[in-house]
């Protein structure tokens, strides 16, 4: 038998109280892990989008309205020396899905020449860019869809469009985007789509959106105004939106999540500190004579201090680990539908995990300090005299 065994057994002294205290630790910790992971995800997403400096230009009537592809040239001509913009990529919604499956992929037909420039966050090697440019059926796909359907580079994929004229096209995967956002992204070549339409006697070349890759945040802001001004009072009036502003607006619509998370974390720490402190004081008071006997049979005060403090830390560790496991488990379970994601799902954040553990142990330490100090100050004779 060792002292650590005695400590573990002490936690079993009142199993219901230990379990309830553990749950009181675990649930706030799980919420803490989820909240912090969400904040970390949002922060990363915002940072990633902000770095991309992309402007989304769509029809003022809405994103489903087509705009003539010639508008790309007009946008480019706003900055002939390329001092403000890098490239413009026209996109058309394809709405493809695997035959006989219910959910469409986020499939977009893109300009072959400017896609690699506008989507620099899709890291393509020179060989992959060459494949993209020379293989008309080329497709760049998100890792979520690739993992779900078992695609690898070179895989042949058939998609049925879910919008008129509902054509079926075959693609060859040339690139799988790691950590794709969204994970079910599927980029195909717009010229390939247009050719398939022409083959069926259809001549529509309209685009749903022009992505304008800007050189700087300042350039993005001026271009945003210039583009909308350029097409003002035309049949195809535009509405230009900063990608970051759009996502940030979406996030803000959910509320001040980082602020809420900070408040939540403070409340969590406060609550579990009260719960743990109360439990440890109760445990101490129940065992006051037992601890006096420990001292009487020769346990030094330092050892008694460590016994009481370690119990608190063990309880905190137990509760925190359960809470972290719950939070991480919730994040790892594929509870979300990858086909409906517009931004990345929260991932397990090591900051949240380690932070939770640190907070849990700190609370355990603080909660155990007072009872441990009381145990040191405990006068053996006074404690024993209560009975004898």
């Amino acid at each position: 038998m060792t002292l650590s065994y005695v400590l573990m057994q002490n936690l079993r002294r009142n199993p219901l109280r230990t379990a309830l205290t553990g749950v009181a630790f675990a649930l706030p910790m799980a919420i803490f892990v989820l909240a912090i992971s969400t904040v970390v995800m949002l922060t990363k997403t915002a940072a990633r989008i902000e770095q991309q400096l992309r402007l989304a230009v769509h029809h003022k009537a809405g994103i489903t309205a087509f705009m003539p592809e010639g508008m790309r040239r007009k946008i480019e001509d706003l900055d002939p020396n390329r001092q403000r913009l890098l490239a413009v990529c026209a996109m058309r919604w394809f709405g493809g899905r695997i035959p006989d499956t219910p959910n469409p992929l986020m499939s977009l037909a893109c300009d072959v020449d400017t896609f690699p420039t506008v989507y620099q966050d899709v890291p393509m090697t020179a060989a992959e860019v060459e494949q993209w440019q020379h293989e008309r059926r080329a497709a760049v796909v998100g890792d979520g869809a690739a993992n779900q359907y078992g695609w690898t580079p070179g895989s042949r994929v058939v998609l049925d469009s879910t919008i008129p004229p509902y054509q079926r096209l075959e693609f060859i995967v040339v690139k799988i985007i790691p950590n794709a956002s969204p994970p079910n992204a599927f980029y195909l070549r717009r010229d390939y789509l247009l050719e398939s339409l022409q083959a069926r006697g259809l001549t529509g070349t309209g685009c749903n959106i022009f992505w304008v890759k800007c050189r700087s945040a300042a350039a993005l802001r001026t271009l945003q105004k210039d583009i909308d001004a350029l097409f003002a009072n035309s049949p195809d009036e535009t509405r230009s939106e900063d990608e970051n502003a759009f996502i940030a607006g979406f996030i803000e619509a959910l509320g001040d999540i980082p602020g809420l998370a900070r408040v939540m974390a403070t409340v969590v720490v406060f609550i579990i500190a009260l719960v743990a402190g109360n439990t440890m004081m109760m445990s101490f008071r129940e065992r006051i004579r037992e601890l006096a006997v420990f001292k009487a049979i020769g346990f030094p005060s330092s050892r008694v201090f460590l016994i009481v403090l370690s119990e608190s830390l063990l309880l905190a560790l137990f509760g925190s680990l359960v809470g972290i496991a719950l939070g991480v488990g919730f994040l790892l379970v594929p509870w979300h539908n990858p086909h409906s994601e517009s931004i990345s799902a929260p991932e397990v954040s090591w900051i949240a995990v380690l932070g939770s553990l640190a907070i849990g142990l700190t609370v355990g330490l603080v909660a155990g300090l007072w009872p441990a100090y009381q145990a040191v100050r405990l006068r053996t004779t006074d404690a024993l005299r209560q009975v004898v």
Partner: protein, 240 residues
Amino acid sequence: MSAADIELVDVRKVYRKGRNAISALDGLSLHVASGSFVVIMGPSGSGKSTLLHLVGGLDAPTAGTVRVGDAQLEQMSERGLTAWRSRHVGFIFQMYYLVPVLTAAQNIELPLLLFHMTGKERRQRVRTALDVVGLSDRMDHRPSQLSGGEEQRVAIARAIVTDPDVILADEPTGDLDARTSEEILSLLSLLHAQYGKTIVMVTHDPRGAAHGQRVVHLDKGILDRDVQNEAHATTAAAPK
């Protein structure tokens, strides 16, 4: 002075509660020879438990000296007293104070965690202590599975497992029925007679007095009577 001689000289102990000073011992002098079995009796508040606590190094006298063997207790630090206590004194309490989540054997092993010895050595000592108190067959039982008498036997085994020189028992039969009390007192007599332990036992029970070689009566913190038990006259130590 031999290893377990106990000597108190003009010991005073005053407890202060707010402005009130309560005198528990008022100039008590007492000598307990090594290997003797002394019973301390007296009414409540006479200073019996205080005497036991002073001899066990759990409390310090307000004045006077307390010597156990070579240890001058009033001069020792708390840390020194704690270390000394773990090696030289075994305590037995009225309410046993066993750890409820540990088995009988584990409770007995507790004081040995303070010693540098292997697990095998500890288990051997625990088995020996259990044999002495006659509870070898109950070693894996928890306190809740034991009777009051058995719990006190475990407490006695815990007190003797470190092979102390002195055993201090504070009302060891106070919570037991007559028959079980007699068993516990007989066990203490056995420890004294067979293993030569110096035993100082506080009790209200007159039957307990019969087991001691000497009965010291305290009253209001002073020595009232010091009576030699005739039945043990041949082995009794003379009062100072």
